[in-house]
Subunit: 412 residues, 4 copies
Amino acid sequence: MTDKRQRAEQINRVVLAFSGGLDTSVILKWLQQTYGCEVVTFTADLGQGEELEPARQKAALMGVKPEHIFIDDLRDEFVRDYVFPMMRANAVYEGQYLLGTSIARPLIAKRQIEIARAVGADAVSHGATGKGNDQVRFELGYYALQPDIKVIAPWREWDLTSRTRLIEFAEAHQIPIPRDKRGEAPFSTDANLLHTSSEGKVLEDPWDEVPDYVFSRTVNPEDAPDTPEYLTIDFERGDAVAVDGEGLGPADLLARLNDFGRRHGIGRLDLVENRFVGMKSRGMYETPGGTILHLAHRAIEQVTLDRGAAHLKDQLMPRYAELIYNGFWFSPEREMLQAAIDHSQQHVTGTVRLKLYKGAAHVVGRRADPRHNLYSAKIVTFEDDAGAYDQRDAEGFIKLNALRLRLLGQRG
Amino acid sequence: MTDKRQRAEQINRVVLAFSGGLDTSVILKWLQQTYGCEVVTFTADLGQGEELEPARQKAALMGVKPEHIFIDDLRDEFVRDYVFPMMRANAVYEGQYLLGTSIARPLIAKRQIEIARAVGADAVSHGATGKGNDQVRFELGYYALQPDIKVIAPWREWDLTSRTRLIEFAEAHQIPIPRDKRGEAPFSTDANLLHTSSEGKVLEDPWDEVPDYVFSRTVNPEDAPDTPEYLTIDFERGDAVAVDGEGLGPADLLARLNDFGRRHGIGRLDLVENRFVGMKSRGMYETPGGTILHLAHRAIEQVTLDRGAAHLKDQLMPRYAELIYNGFWFSPEREMLQAAIDHSQQHVTGTVRLKLYKGAAHVVGRRADPRHNLYSAKIVTFEDDAGAYDQRDAEGFIKLNALRLRLLGQRG
Amino acid sequence: MTDKRQRAEQINRVVLAFSGGLDTSVILKWLQQTYGCEVVTFTADLGQGEELEPARQKAALMGVKPEHIFIDDLRDEFVRDYVFPMMRANAVYEGQYLLGTSIARPLIAKRQIEIARAVGADAVSHGATGKGNDQVRFELGYYALQPDIKVIAPWREWDLTSRTRLIEFAEAHQIPIPRDKRGEAPFSTDANLLHTSSEGKVLEDPWDEVPDYVFSRTVNPEDAPDTPEYLTIDFERGDAVAVDGEGLGPADLLARLNDFGRRHGIGRLDLVENRFVGMKSRGMYETPGGTILHLAHRAIEQVTLDRGAAHLKDQLMPRYAELIYNGFWFSPEREMLQAAIDHSQQHVTGTVRLKLYKGAAHVVGRRADPRHNLYSAKIVTFEDDAGAYDQRDAEGFIKLNALRLRLLGQRG
Amino acid sequence: MTDKRQRAEQINRVVLAFSGGLDTSVILKWLQQTYGCEVVTFTADLGQGEELEPARQKAALMGVKPEHIFIDDLRDEFVRDYVFPMMRANAVYEGQYLLGTSIARPLIAKRQIEIARAVGADAVSHGATGKGNDQVRFELGYYALQPDIKVIAPWREWDLTSRTRLIEFAEAHQIPIPRDKRGEAPFSTDANLLHTSSEGKVLEDPWDEVPDYVFSRTVNPEDAPDTPEYLTIDFERGDAVAVDGEGLGPADLLARLNDFGRRHGIGRLDLVENRFVGMKSRGMYETPGGTILHLAHRAIEQVTLDRGAAHLKDQLMPRYAELIYNGFWFSPEREMLQAAIDHSQQHVTGTVRLKLYKGAAHVVGRRADPRHNLYSAKIVTFEDDAGAYDQRDAEGFIKLNALRLRLLGQRG
C-alpha cells in the first residue's frame, strides 16, 4: 500500500459521498489524515427519510469549509430519471429484487462528478466496502463520466479490516457511533425513496428468519389493518402520474405509495443474492411503494402493450436488471435497452386499481381509453362475436405451426 | 364446411378427450351424429378434484362401448414429468402466470395418442374452442407424436357459435347442463392438481374486480387464519421431495402444498394475458401449492446455484415459458432448454422454510449441506474474514470493467 | 371455396402488386374473371433491373385504366428506409441469408395500401404462393397498416395448383410466357437492388450443385479478374455515404457496390433455409453489393462501437433477422429492436477499405477520426505503454471473476 | 510488489506452461531467480506444427529435472473434446472469429492442474501478458479446477514492461531469441491444430493491410490453384467423421481439412476485436480447416436440424462464443449451453460437399438419409404436391399472426 500513499501525495481536493453516518465520518477523518488533502462533502437527499442538516454540522465540525459542503435535494430527479425508466422495464434482479440500492448509485456518482468539476477536485471517494456491489456502481459511474478522475476507496486501502476496527477508530477520534433501536451498532443499511435494505449481523445465516426489528419502513403484515384498502394509479406513457386521481410529481407520487405500502406491510423481501464481485449475500429489502408500482405497471401494460413488445421486454429484462445491479447504468448497452423499452411505452396509458391487505398488493382492475386499449371483449367473448374472429382460421394456424413438428415425427 | 363433412365420411374411430362436462358431452353426441363414427372416450385424472365415475356412466349412456371408455389416473406422471421439470425452470408466463393449464395439455395429448394407437383409431378430438390456446396445445401435441393423425375440433367446425347455442343443443339432446353455485351456467374453467382457472362472463371486463364466488380452490385471504403457519420443503436435484420432513411422492406432495395454500388463500391471480392466437383475455387463476413451490424453488437455488447458471436460467425462462404456453412442449427447442435447465439442477438440494399468512407466502430461511451449499458467511462477513477475500482485488476488477467506459468518455 | 367466391361479389376495386411477369399477369386476368372487379396495378421499381414500361403496356392491354396503372420508383426509399436500417443491425438469417427478398416486401405492402386509399380500393392482391414466406410478409404488412383491408391471395384460392397448370391457363388466355436463357419456363425468382434469388426446378435437390446459368447478377468467380480490386466505403452514423470517396445517395451507392460485386463474383449463396410456414426450401441468392456492405459495416463497428453495444447487438440480431424474414417489419418488437440498434450507431462513422478477389470480399483496413474512434494502439501495444494500462489490475479482475468458480470447486 | 515477493517465499514447485519460445524461456529463468523454486515444464502438442523436442532440451539446459519435463500429445483430446463441441454450436465471436486461441487454453489449464497434482506442485504459471485474454482463460481454468492453487503471472509482476526489455533480459541470460522470416523479433503468435494468430507490430494500425509475410498457414489466395477443388465431409451427430469418404479420427480429420484450406488460401481473417479486459486489439487469424468445418456444419444442419432448434442455437450462440472467448469454458453456464446444443445434434448426420477456390469455401451440396433428413422436395415443390401441403392453411396462419397487428392498427 506504500505506492497508494505515494500517489496520495498528489491529491489536492476530493469529493466524498458523505451520509453523515459512522462510516463516511470515519472516512472523512481518514482522508484528511492520510492524503492531507481538502475534503469536499456531498450529501444527497434521495428521500432516505433522515435529517440532512446534521451532516452539514458534522462536516463543518471536522473542518470542511462551508462552501465545500454540498447538500442537494435529488428526489425528483431520482424518481423521474432513474426509478421510472427502470419501472418501465419491469426490472427485477434474480426474480425478486427491485434494485432499490443499485438505481441510486449512478445518480450519486453523477452529481459527485459535477461537484468535482465545479470545485476543481481531482478525486472522488465513497464509503462502500471492497466486498460489495456499491463500489462498482459508484466507480463505473465516475469513470464513465470523468475518465481521468482519481478514485479513493478507503475500505480497499486502509487497515480497518472489520466493522469492529472501524468502531475503534471512531472512538479514538471522537466520532459519534450511532446505535440501533436495540442499542447496538447498526446493520449495514441503505435507504432512499424507493427502498431500505439491511445486510450483515443476524442476517448472515440465511436459515434464520429475519427478526421483525430489522424492518423499519413497513409495519409487520400481522399488525397491518384487518380491512383491505383500495387505490388507483394512473399511468401516462409508462410512468405513474396520479394516485387516486390526484396528479403528483415523481417524488411525491412515490412517497404517497410508500405511505400505502408502509401501512399494509407491503414489499418486504428476504433474499440471498449473487453479487457482481462473485459472492452470495443475504439481505433484507423493504420496497413498499416500489412493489405497488411494479405490479401496477405490469397491469397497465396488460391492456395497452402488444404481445410482441411485451414478450421482447420480458426477454430483455433480466439482462437490463443485471446491468443496473452490476453498475452499468452509464453504458451504451443499458441505453440501447432503454431506447427499446421506452419505445414500447408510447401507449402505456391508463388506470390500475389495486387492493392492499396484510403484506400483499393485488391488482383487481385495469383500464385504458380506446386510444390506448388493446383488450377487446368483443373478440374474446365466448358468446357470438358477430364475425370479429373466424374460428376456422385457427385450423390453418395450427397446421402450419405443426408442419415442422410433423416432419420431425415422420423422420426415419 | 361441406368438404369437412365429406372428409368426415372417412373417420372410423375417434378418441375424444372427455371430461364428462357439458361441452365434451355435446361433442360426443355431435361426433356420433356428424361423422357417424365410433367414439372412444378418454378421461384423465389430473387431480382436478372431481369424481370421474360419472364420466364413465355418461359415456356409457351415450353409447360408448365399455372397452372404449378410458379413465386414467395420471396424477403422478403429471407432477413428476410435467410440473416438476417446469418448476425447475422457475417458469412464469408474462411475469405472473404459473402455466397450470398449459402444462397439462401435452400429457392429455400424449395419452390420447397412445389410446388411439391401442384401439386403432384414426382421429382424435377435443373440446377446446377456436379462440383459445388449448386447441393449439392439444393439436401440436397430437401432430408431433402422430404426424398423420386426423384432428376433429368441433368448435371450429360446427355451427354452435356461442355458449348459448351450445346449451340449446344440449337441451335438445337431453344432455344435462351443470349449474354453478349461483345456479347459472358455469364459467369456462379448467382444473388439475396444479391449478384452477376461470375465464369469461363477469371476468370479461378487466376493470371489474373478480367476485369472490369465482374462486374455488382457496379461501379468501380475509378469511384465512389470523396466525401465520410455517412449513419446510426439502428439495433434491431441483425437485421437491418432502414437506415438513415427510417424504412424499410428486402428486401427494403437490396435494399437500395445495392444502397449505388453500387454507391461507395463497396463489390467486387476476391476469390479462396474451393468447397465442393473437388476442388478449382476462382470466382468474388459483395455484395454491404451485405458488408455494415456485417461491421455494427459487429460494433453494439462491444458496445452491451458481450466479452464471442462475442468470442464464433467468434469461432463458421467458422463452421457455412462452413455448409451454404456446403448446410447444414436444418440440426440439423446449427439449434443448430443458436439457440446459436440468443440467443446472444437480446441486439444487436442500431445505426451504416458508411462512404463510393471509394470501401470501414468504420465504424465511433456506439451507443446504456443504456438498451443495454455495453461500459462505465467512467470505461475505463485514467482520474480519481472515483473508478469505482480498478487498484490493476489487480495484483491478473495477478498473478493467471500467476501461471501455473510460475510452468511450475520452472519445472526441 | 364457394364461400370465397361469394365474398368475391363484394370486391369493387383491388390493387394488385403487378410485376408484369407471368404469374401476376395470370392473376390480373383471373381477378377480373373471378371477382368481376376493377383491377388497379402497382409496379414498384426497386432496382430489379428490368424495364417497367412493358408492365404498363401489359396492364393497359388487359384493360386496366391508365389512371389505375401505378409505376413508382422506390429505389431510394427502399435502400434508405429498409436496407440501411437492416444493415445497421448486421442482420443475417440463419447465419447466412442477407434478407434481400424479405426486406422489400414491407415497402411494397406499404405503397400498395397507400394506393388503395388513394383510389378507394377495398382489397389488395399479390402473386405469392401459399407455400412461401412472401404471402406472409405482404399480408402482415397490409393488415398492420390497414386492418380492415380485404386480401386476395389467388394462389391459395384458385385451382391452378402447379406451375404447369398456370402455364396452361396463360396459354389459354394469350398471356405471353417468358423463357429463361435456356428457353425454358423460368425459375421462381425475385430481384431488387439488394439481391436476386431463385428457387425451384433444378435447385430442388439440395445435393446438386447450382448450375452456373442460374446466376444472373454476378460473374462466376472463376471468370472474375485475376487481379484484386480495392475500394473504400465511408460511413456516417452507421450508414454508407460514399464509395472511394465519392458521396452517393442510398440507391446509387448500393448500385455502385453491386457493380463491384458483380465484376468479382461476390455474394453468391446456396442455402437450405427454414420458411416461416414450416418447411425447408433450397434457394440461390446473389447479393453482390449487400455482401460488401455487410462486411464493411461490421468492420467500421470494430473501431467505433463499444463492446457492450456490439455484443448486445450480436445477441439481438438473430431475433431481429427472424422478424424481418417472417414478415414482422411493421411490428412493435421490430421497432423496439430498431430503436436499440439505431441508438448504438451514433458514432459508427469512418472508413473501411476492402479487397475484392475471385468471389470473396476481404476487409483490409478501417479507421475513424478521434471523435468516433475507440481503438487505441497506445493501450494495446506490446511495447511500453507509459502507464496507459496497469497490468496489475488484471489480477483483481481475474480473481473476482474466478471467485464463484472457486466456490463451486470447493463445494463438498 | 514487495508483498508479492514475500509470498514468493512460499512457492515450492511451480508448473509452467512452457512453449520453449522466447517468452516462456525468460519466464522459466525468472521464476527460478525470483521464487527460488523448482520449475516443472509442461509443453502441449496441440498440433502447432513445431518440433517439441527442442523444448525438452531447453528445459533440461535450464536445469529442469528430466522427470519434471512434461511433453504431451493432446491433439485428439483437443479436437474431440474442445474444437468439436464448439463447432456443434457454430460458435463465432463478434461475427467472425472462430476462437482458435480461446478454445485451446482450457485444455492447457486442465492438463497443467493434473500435472501439478501429480508432482505435488503448489503453483502454476503461464506466459500470457496482463493485457490479453489468455491470462484470464488460463487462470479461470486453474481456479475452477483447483480453487486453492497459487498462480504466478510474470507479465503482471515483473518489471519487464515491454517486449524490448524482455529481449534485453533474454540477451543478458543467454536465452536464444528467435527471429521471424524477415530477421526480426517475431509477432506475438499462437498456433494449434485449429488456427494460427498474430498480433502486434505492423498489425497495430488497423488501417494498414496485413502484409502477406505475416501469414504462415495458408497460401495467398492469389497464389492458390486456378482450378477449384471439391471435397465432401461426413458428419455423425454433429461431428465430422470422414473426408472424401475416408473415416478419420478428430485430429487427423482437422489436419486433413487444414491441408485443403492451406492449398486454397482459406480462412484468413483480419479483425479488430474486443478483449475481455476492455480494450480493442487488431489481430490476424488463419483457420483453414476450421473455416471449412464451420461452413460444412451449418450446411448439414440445414437439412437435418429443425427450425426451432436452429433458431434457438443461433440465439444462444453469441453468448456461448463470448463465454469461450472470455475464458469461462469450465463454468456452469457454458456447460448448460453445451447440454442444450448437444441435445440438438442427435440427427445432425449426413454429408456436405464443398468447393474451394482462391481463398473461399462454398457449400455446393448437402444430403442426409431419411432417418435424419428433414428437407422434403415433395412438400416444397412448385409443382403439384398431391396434397402434401394445403395452401389454404396459410390463410388462417396469416390471419392469426396478423390479429394483434390489426388490433394495434385499429386502436384510437
